[in-house]
Symmetry: C2
Subunit: 320 residues, 2 copies
Amino acid sequence: MKTGGHKILDCTIRDGGLVNNWDFSVDFVRDLYDGLSAAGVEYMEVGYKNSPKLLNATEPNPWRFLDDRFLQEIFPEKKATKISALCDIGRVDENDILPREQSVLDMIRVACYIKDVNKGLDLVQKFHNMGYETSLNIMALSHVHEHQLIEAFEAVNQSAVDVVYVVDSYGSLDPKNTEHLVKKFRALLPNKQLGMHMHNNRQLAFANTLVGIDNGVTFLDASVYGMGRAAGNCHTELLVSHLKNPRYELKPILGIIEKHMLAMREKWEWGYIIPYMISGVLNEHPRVAMALRSSEERDNFTAFYDRLTSPETVDTLVKK
Amino acid sequence: MKTGGHKILDCTIRDGGLVNNWDFSVDFVRDLYDGLSAAGVEYMEVGYKNSPKLLNATEPNPWRFLDDRFLQEIFPEKKATKISALCDIGRVDENDILPREQSVLDMIRVACYIKDVNKGLDLVQKFHNMGYETSLNIMALSHVHEHQLIEAFEAVNQSAVDVVYVVDSYGSLDPKNTEHLVKKFRALLPNKQLGMHMHNNRQLAFANTLVGIDNGVTFLDASVYGMGRAAGNCHTELLVSHLKNPRYELKPILGIIEKHMLAMREKWEWGYIIPYMISGVLNEHPRVAMALRSSEERDNFTAFYDRLTSPETVDTLVKK
């Protein structure tokens, strides 16, 4: 199935913030917005709409705890690119959300694990009632069984949600199991738009996204130069250069990379790095690899591999 | 079509030598051979079997101009991993080649452009008569028209060559046109084994190789940590971790990366680098991007993109 009408959702600020604790300057975020708009990218995710109170935050972090007044200062004039925010169930205070017509945000996305889909849908319904486009991003799908999906999707089909996302949190999917999963989503959610959010642990984020496109996915998450947690995401510049829509222009994205991303990549680490490859291959959360990269053992790949594949470690990981 | 029986051919020394002018220590090459053997990799390509005289070489370069006596010193005892060399038509002196039973080499591969297939097959026949396994590696396929393939393959089918390679010299293929090309090769060469040699300009070398596997390709070129010209190749560690053959072990490859490749990557440059992405997207030879990377303009991506997409530049490139 090929539907066309793809939309790229750039999540450089939101997912990239997991790399640098959202240490993005206002100038960078504005440059990124202008560049994405010039490139024809349809959505930019500017951060998390979580609550500093609920997360016991002790320091301000504007892109992690998006505030509507702040957003209005940053984006006094919007261009064609819509603006989205992500929130996690249990971490968002609904009273923080203004009706869409008073907000810079166009879309609010809700991330949850499969067991919390109903809680996610409650939030989606509230945001939908306030006028927002909505999505439900079901994380860690490589650990989810088919019967869990079938059960959860009954409620999803009854809900107001616009887009349902296939999220490869662990970067463990390959093109074949991506195709299998997307076809299952397509069959079980006949009236919803589908999205995908891939991680690049095995250098397959772009290829998996292409598989999604061929199977009816329309919302394509990506980040400029792949900036995102651990191995990062599908690269926005690869999608923009590949998709045939005449609206897309590669050059503005190259400009952002040239002006900002090379220096940022020197300062912060993401991308194809062996411990992330290993956690992807083993279908593990990247947190073990992120901990390794913050330690003095950061380049001890064989010892890390031994640890993750020894029977004792499996016990520890299961118990965690 | 799925045949199983894949063979990984690691070309770290040969293709990686295009990055560092074959500046590999004997210790590294021996460690690599031991590691690839322990990992179950079937072939290691140790360099080029070209002639220093024919290339007017002024300095010794043992991995570029392989010599049998030298190879016997380096590999006094062979393990399960076979050893191959590549040569280019017009650059190899047939008198330099010993019969296989006197050589460390098991396989000689011949690289050529489509117009030179008959010259390539002449060489293949000679190496075949001397007892070697042979392959014909047809370069720059993304610029070849179907009628040229059909014409050339009549002679290939009549020849003694064991393996015919799909070579994506420019790193411009995506999984769809890779599938198209491999299916064409499979249909036109019913009695030959197929190989593939992908470049990683668009982060698709691994994904394209997976497409090849699903369509009957058995010889899979790769290099450790992707080390190869410009954007490099499909990563050996990704193939070894993915293929289901119980012979494969990831850990010895991780050991090579940990011990050698991180330091080598600090010293020499290959991989996903924006000018190589641009040349791949534009289906151009990477030499323009390699020249840029050697200049002071190395990070001026937008100017490079402008130059490659302006009508004047297209004229220059066509004339070159």
